[in-house]
Amino acid sequence: MPDDVMLEVADLHAFYGESHVLHGVSLTVPKGEVVTLLGRNGAGKTTTLRSIMGIVPRRDGSIRMEGTETVGLAPHRIPRLGIGFVPEERGIFSSLDVEENLMLPPVVRPGGMAVEDIFRLFPNLKERRRSQGTKLSGGEQQMLAIARILRTGATLLLLDEPTEGLAPVIVQQIGRVIRELKAKGFTILLVEQNFRFAATLADRHYVMEDGRIVDMIPNEQLEANMERLHEYLGV
């Protein structure tokens, strides 16, 4: 595998009980890029991220993080390879205050962002350090969910629909944050429904349908492929 590949997923199958959800997903995330997974509801985008984190009941195939095979690793070992996860439901803990939420994920390798730098990126969070995590607004909770994995030294960030249900102003703000993170050298795999948002950030787009990758479109060819994309996404 070339050195510039961060994550390589090959022929990934995932199962929830009897139901076979992913049917041979393959994708590559190069270092330093923002890659999106587009697709309709139920196409398997979230399951793909959860499979990468090892938190689906069963998965087969190959998922390599910087060359290390993770299928077969215990779930708590996978983030320690340098992967940070922001789940779809944001996963802010109500029994923890904002600062405790921020400090919860253990540092997995050196080189994470300092807390002061995180607060500079998300000034709202600093003001509300002592609030209960779930008392924050939806946008602030999303910021917190992103902020807490920047401390850990993770170099690959998996973001599951960070803009879902948020007001346009907040969506813009999150777009700015993601651009800034990319400039800092983070590699990002982003699940999105909102491809207009994704188009402003991403280097390439994978399109999913029924648990399979059906297309890969580099961002510079997005305009030329707009019609195809509309068809995939049914918009």
């Binding site: 215990a74 983030p79 789940p87 803990f93 400090m103």
Partner: protein, 295 residues
């Protein structure tokens, strides 16, 4: 001397002290149950039996190894905790994917087996355990006589309960525990070994029961059934306080002990059922318990 509502103060304070002693044990035991339920979603019916095992471990250590009260106060909870870790690893951990009822049945069965074994070996009559020399005797507080050992039990229980509360609510390790109680899968996805946390939590919860057992040994006799007599009241305490609430378990434990003591003074006939009356009322008005959060 003055009387209070027709009750001599000696009797009033005496019963309040007895209530406080009982409350000390209710608090320690319901705290362990609450910690275990929060993390494992298992109602640990073996809790009373493990309290008894803690007391017997101290007694056996003294009888056969010459290990006295103070070392036993540390060693017996460790033994019980280790036993709990083995139980969790080999049996309980297989049941998490099933209904809560299976964990309850397993721990209930374990309680019966443990009690049966100790009854078989040591009979149903109690074994005496001497109060350690340093805590013999008592002191006159002016309004009442306080046996030193009983004072020690209340203090030790308070310190351990509040220490546990602090560790869970105010430290980083406690934050892991609270987070994993709420969303274990996500905590795992941050790189924390949740199955090991669950095992250690069970070990810690039952070690608290073991500790309570050692504290109880010099007060009550060391008896194979001492746990099952107590545990029913403790379950009522947990229901009143609210499942999974740490401070709720502590406060409710002490408060109900005191309430029982007061009832003994003013209406002794009701003293054995007052806890259950409170439980019924709380369940009617606030089903999640006084300190519980609706899930």
């Amino acid at each position: 001397m003055f009387e209070f509502l027709g009750v001599p103060p000696q009797a009033l304070f005496g019963q309040l002290l007895l209530g406080l002693i009982n409350g000390s044990f209710y608090a320690l035991l319901s705290l362990g149950l609450a910690v275990i339920f929060g993390m494992l979603n298992v109602i640990n019916f073996a809790h009373g039996a493990l309290y008894m095992v803690g007391a017997f471990t101290a007694w056996l250590m003294l009888q056969y190894l010459g290990i006295g009260y103070w070392p036993a106060l540390i060693l017996a909870p460790l033994v019980v905790g280790l036993f709990g870790i083995i139980l969790e690893k080999t049996m309980l951990s297989r049941l998490y994917k099933l209904d809560h009822l299976y964990g309850l049945l397993l721990t209930f069965g374990l309680a019966l087996i443990l009690e049966g074994m100790f009854r078989h070996w040591y009979g149903a009559s109690g074994q005496p355990y001497r109060i350690p020399d340093a805590l013999q005797g008592g002191r006159n507080l002016g309004f009442m006589f306080l046996p030193n050992y009983r004072g020690w039990v209340v203090v030790a229980s308070l310190v351990v309960c509040l220490g546990t509360w602090y560790a869970i609510e105010r430290t980083r390790l406690g934050a892991y525990l609270r987070a994993a109680t709420e969303n274990p899968v996500l905590v795992q996805a941050f790189g924390i070994n949740v199955p090991r946390m669950i095992t250690l939590t069970y070990g810690f919860g039952v070690a608290l029961a073991g500790f309570a057992g050692v504290l109880a040994a010099p007060i009550y006799q060391v008896n194979p059934l001492m746990g099952s007599n107590l545990i029913i009241v403790v379950f009522a305490v947990v229901v009143i306080g609210g499942m999974g609430s740490i401070m709720g378990a502590i406060v409710t434990g002490f408060a109900l002990g005191l309430l029982e003591g007061l009832t003994k003074v003013f209406y002794p006939e009701a003293s054995n059922i007052v806890v259950f009356v409170v439980m019924a009322v709380v369940l009617l008005i606030k089903p999640a318990g006084l300190f519980g959060r609706e899930r």
